[in-house]
Subunit: 352 residues, 2 copies
Amino acid sequence: MSKFWSDIVHTLTPYVPGEQPKTQNLIKLNTNENPYPPSPKALAAIAEASNESLRLYPDPSSDILKQSIANYYNLDTAQVFVGNGSDEVLAHTFQALLKHDKPLLFPDISYSFYPVYCGLYGIDYKTVPLNANFEIDVADYSQPNGGIIFPNPNAPTGIGLALNNIENLLQQYPSSVVVVDEAYIDFGGESAIAFIDKYPNLLVVQTISKSRSLAGLRVGFALGHPDLIQALVRVKDSFNSYPLDKLATLGASASLNDKAYFSKTCQRVIQTRDQLTLKLKALGFEVLPSQANFIFAQHPKHQGKDLAQSLRDKQIIVRHFQAPRIENFLRITVGTDVECAQLIKALESIIA
Amino acid sequence: MSKFWSDIVHTLTPYVPGEQPKTQNLIKLNTNENPYPPSPKALAAIAEASNESLRLYPDPSSDILKQSIANYYNLDTAQVFVGNGSDEVLAHTFQALLKHDKPLLFPDISYSFYPVYCGLYGIDYKTVPLNANFEIDVADYSQPNGGIIFPNPNAPTGIGLALNNIENLLQQYPSSVVVVDEAYIDFGGESAIAFIDKYPNLLVVQTISKSRSLAGLRVGFALGHPDLIQALVRVKDSFNSYPLDKLATLGASASLNDKAYFSKTCQRVIQTRDQLTLKLKALGFEVLPSQANFIFAQHPKHQGKDLAQSLRDKQIIVRHFQAPRIENFLRITVGTDVECAQLIKALESIIA
C-alpha cells in the first residue's frame, strides 16, 4: 500500500504461477511443460539469429512468425495476432474485446488468470459452474453476456468440449465474442479454428509453450476474423510496439514449420498420459478424462494437499489448488515415461 | 470499427514506431539503435541457454537479471523491476503509478508514446511546452499534478537536464511520482539513480536496447523505492507472469556484467556524435546539443521532410516527425564513423 499507487493497484489480486524451482534433481510435473525438447530446427534458428543483428529492433509485427502460423492453419496473416506468451495475448483480448456492459462469462473452475484480467481492466464477470462431472454444459451459458471465454480442453480439469457445443454458442450469441483458449488443444482436442472463416465472433488463442516445448521463449497467438485481430493490434501498438524479440519470433516460426517433430512429441505425450491414467486408476484414483498434457485426479482416501506434500518430500512436484470443489485434486503434468513411473512408485509408497 | 470491440479500442491512437526495413543495404539511422554489436559475452550467454531447457518456463521474476542490475547500480533487488522492453515497463508505470485525480505532466515535445499510454489507461494529462531553446524548464512544472514524466536526455531533442533540476521537482512534489525515462542516459547524461535512496517518489526507467546494443532482445527496467516497484510487480503479475523469456534474461544479465565493453562502445558513439555535430554545423545545420545517441537538427534552407526523402533516395533513412514546432527537424541516429561520413557526403550533394 502506498500513496503513490494508482487506485487500481490497491484492488488487484495478482495471479500466482506454478513454482519454477531453482534447485535441480526435482521431477517437475507442476506447470504443464512438455517433457521433450523443442524441435532441433527451432534451436538451430535461434542459434543462427544470435548475432550482431540483435543490436536492431525486431520486426514490430513479427511477420515471419505470422506467416508460419497462417501457413500451418491455412489462414490469412490478417487473421493472426502474435504476443509475448498466450498470457499477454489473453490480457490484450480481455482489454480489447471482452469489456462490455453485460458480464463476461467463464467457468467457475478454469484458468485462474481470467478473474485477474477482469480485475486489471475493470471487467464485470460472472462464473458459470461446471456440471457435477466437471464438464462445461453450454446450456448453462444461455444468459445475457458481453462475451464468453473458456479453455478447451478446460484447465485444470483436462476435459474437452466437442465442437458442436462451441458452434451452438457462436450461433446463439452472434454479438458476443467467444474466446476459445486452446493452450492444450494439440494433445487430442478438436480445435475451433475450422470455424474461423464462418463465425466473425470467434477468437481462438493458442501457445507454443506446451505442445511445441517452448515455454522458455514466450510466444502465444490468436486467430480470428480480421476485425477482432485489428482490435488486438490497436491495443498492442498502444502498449508495446515490439512484444516479441527476434529470437522468439524466429524460434517459434521454425517450430511451427517442423510438423513432423511436433506430431511425434504430441503423440508420445498422449500415449504416456493414457498409460498414466490407467496406473492412477489402479491405485484407486478418480481421474477425469483428459485431452490435455496433464491429468486431474483425486484419491478417495487421501487429501490432495497431503499427497502433494508427500510427493514433494520425494522430490516430485505437482500442482494443488486450494479452491472450492477441487481442493482434493492434484493436477499432474504428463512427464516422460520414466518420470511417470517414478511418480507411480512414489504414490504407491505414500498410499500404502 | 466493430461491434465486438471494447469501447476503449475505438478511442485509441496507437504509437507508430520507426520503420524496420526488410531490405538490406540501407544505412539505418532512424530508430536510435547502437551501431556496434552487443557484448560478445551476451551472445555467448544466449548461445549457452539455447538448449533443451527452453521447454521450461523462465523464472517469472528474472532474478538473475535483477541481481545484475542491482549489482551494477549498487541497489537492492527490491528496488529493481524488469520488463519486456522499456515500453512495457513504461506501460505498467502509467497504469500502476501515474493515474490520479490531477493530470500527469510531460513535455509537449517528448516520447510520443506517452499520450498513447494515457489513452490506453484513461489517464488525464497536460503537456508542458519546452522553452524556446527546446529545453525542459522545471519552473514550468510548478502546477498541480498527479505525476511527472520526461525523458532525460529528452527525445527527440537529445537535450539533457541537470540533476539539480530533477531534485527540485522531487522535493517540490513529494506526493507525485516523478519518472525519469533514461533510455539514452549512458551517452553522456547524468543519471538520477543517485537519488533513489533519498526520494521515495522517484522512478528511473532504463533499457538495454540502446547503450547495450540489444534492441532485438526486448529488456527494460525500472529502479526506485520498493513501494513503487511493488506496484509494478502487482500489475505485471496481473498481466503476464513471465514477461521475459529465458534468452533475454540471460543475455541481458551478461550484457550488464560486461562493463568494459559497454564503456568502450558508449565512448565511441559519443565521439562520433560530437564529430557529426561539427560536420552538420559546417553544412549550415542548427544542431541541438545532444547527450543521446542521436542528433536533432534542422537546416535553415531545407525542409526536414524533403531532406528525409532525399536521403531515403540515397539509401539512408533518418526519422522525421510531422509534429508542431519540430516539423523542420531530422532526428539522426549516430551510426559508425563510416555511416556518418556517408550521411555527410549525401547531405553535401543534396544541399549543394
